[in-house]
Every structure is written in C-alpha cells, then in structure tokens.
C-alpha cells in the first residue's frame, strides 16, 4: 500500500481520484474548474476597469484556496512521494523526442524546456511565454480548461465541452506534429 502510493500512480487510480475531487467540489456547493482562477487574478489586480473583470474577486476565494492547495500538493509529491523520478514514457515517444534533440527523461520535466539556463535564452523564454499566453487566452475564450470542460463539462454531457475538447486536440496536434519540428 505504502509503495503503491509513493510510486507513480496508475491511470485508473489517478482518474478515479480526479472524479472524487469533482464530486467533493460539487458536494461543497461549488464546481471543479481551475482556469477561472486566472480571471479572478485579473479581477484582483489590474483588470477592474474592464467589464469582464469587474466583479468582486472575493466570491472566488474558495477557488484561489484550491489553487494554493494545488501548489502544496505538488510540493508534497516532490518532497515525500514521487520525488521527480524519470517519467517512463513509451520508447516511441523517446525516439520521436530524440529526433527533435531532446534527451531521454531524467526527471519529471525536460531540462531543455524548464531549467533556468534554457529559459534564459530568447527561444527558451518565448516557448514558455507564448505557451502560457495561448493557454490563458484560449481557456477563457473556450470557457474552460481540462478540468472545467474535459472533466466537469463532459461528465455533465455538455456539447460545448465536447467541441472545446476537440478544439484542444486540433491545437495540440497542430503544435506537436506541424509546429514542433519548426521550433525544435
């Protein structure tokens, strides 16, 4: 049991627990959707003059608390559980990434993307900046992210969520298969 919890979790266990989190949020009278926090942060800071951000951000303190918890959870996993052992991706992915100049995984994330010496190059910085911008712009445009659309929306059989998830894959496949070879 202890070994099971401390090692990387299988998909069925992880997926089941995500459903439990969604039910917990519903039982608490709220909903499971992470990216609303980005809008709330805009309302808290520099967005109040714009109609879309002109609301009382305190109403969403519960979700900001969830966000803080997510960071704490990441820390607990790093410090006491997963610890950042190499991600065991498939051999086919290792080969595809090698062709783009990425080494086999040595931890949770590739140094080529997230180590500060990579980020401190123009290309390295732009990858994270543009990637983040597209995530933040797209999620609000679509009305949700992986949690709000793919999990909460699909569970509630919402067709706009299915359309959004199809959109996620159109964008993701275009980036991975067409744009990645031009970037890396």
């Amino acid at each position: 049991m202890k070994d099971f919890l401390l090692n990387p979790w299988p998909w069925w266990f992880s997926g089941g627990l995500i459903a439990v989190i969604m039910f917990m949020m519903l039982f608490f009278g709220k909903s499971f959707g992470f990216s609303s926090n980005l809008r709330t942060i805009c309302a808290m800071t520099f967005g109040r003059k714009i109609k879309f951000f002109d609301f009382d951000w305190r109403e969403n303190t519960w979700n900001l608390t969830f966000l803080v918890g997510a960071a704490i959870g990441g820390f607990i996993s790093y410090a006491f559980m997963h610890g950042g052992s190499p991600v065991e991706i498939s051999d086919a992915t290792v080969a595809d990434l090698a062709a783009l100049g990425f080494g086999a995984p040595e931890g949770m994330q590739p140094n080529e993307v997230f180590a500060w010496e990579s980020v401190m190059t123009l290309k390295g910085f732009l990858v994270l900046a543009v990637g983040g911008f597209l995530v933040g712009f797209g999620t609000r445009y679509a009305g949700g992210c992986t949690s709000g659309h793919a999990i909460s929306g699909l569970s509630n059989l919402q067709w706009p969520s299915l359309v959004a998830v199809i959109g996620f894959f159109i964008g993701g496949l275009l980036m991975t298969h067409v744009l990645f070879p031009l970037i890396y």
Partner: protein
C-alpha cells in the same frame, strides 16, 4: 476555517497531478503522439465515473453540504468560441506541456520557471477580456 476544505481538495488534486505524472511535459507529448494510453486512461476514467456520478446526483436530487440541491451550470452553447478557444488552448497546452492546474502544481513541485507560464497565462486571460467584444463567439 471555512476555506480549509477547499485547501484540502486542492492539495489532493495537486498530489494526483504529480503522482499521475499528468503535470509532465513528457506525458503531454506522449498523449498528442498517441503513443501511450496513460493520459487517455486518466481523463477517460474521470469522465466515465464523473458522468455516472452526475447522473446519480440528478436522479436522486442529492444535496450539497449546505442542504441545497447540487446545481450544474450549463456551458454557454456557442460552438465557434468553443472550437476557436479550444484550439488556441491546445496550441499552448502542447507548447508549454501544461494546462492551468498543472502549471501551479509544477511551481509547487519546484519548477519555478513555470511562474513565467503562469504570468503569461494571466496576461492571456486579461487579453481575452480586453478584446472580448471584438472576437467571434
């Protein structure tokens, strides 16, 4: 403290994202290359169990912690913004290897460069709000 339960739920969520490796750029690459069942298994299990649970909640009119019937907010029924916004999100998801939840989990895990992704995600959401009236929906 009335927010403690949300802090706890968020903490468990963060642990799931990390222990399942869903927070990893490598897993997102593997998913968009259709080279492993892992990510599809995670999302698929969550959706199947989620849909069963939502059905049960509606069928038996289950109430929340405050005694109110559990409400489901319908998503706005506009296909254009869903497909366009979704595709923009997908481009960013594959490029940065993280969607909003895992961005924050990564920061806690020690990948401080994810703060750049987070800052620009906030800027992206701000830009959407700024240009909202000019965008097709």
């Amino acid at each position: 403290m009335k927010f403690f339960k949300f802090l706890l739920a968020g903490t468990i969520f963060g642990i799931i994202m990390a222990q399942s490796e869903a927070m990893s750029w490598y897993r997102i690459q593997e998913m968009f290359r259709f080279q492993s069942f892992h990510m599809y298994g995670i999302i698929g299990t969550a959706v199947v169990l989620g849909a069963l649970g939502v059905f049960v909640i509606k069928k038996f009119n289950i109430k929340d912690i405050n005694g109110n019937p559990i409400q489901f907010e319908p998503k706005e029924p506009q296909w254009l913004k869903s497909i366009l916004g979704g595709a923009i999100f997908g481009l960013g998801w594959a490029l940065s290897g993280a969607c909003p939840g895992p961005i924050v989990v990564n920061v806690g895990f020690g990948f401080t460069s994810m703060l750049i992704v987070l800052a620009f995600a906030v800027l992206g959401t701000f830009s959407y709000g700024y240009f909202r009236d000019k965008l097709p929906h």
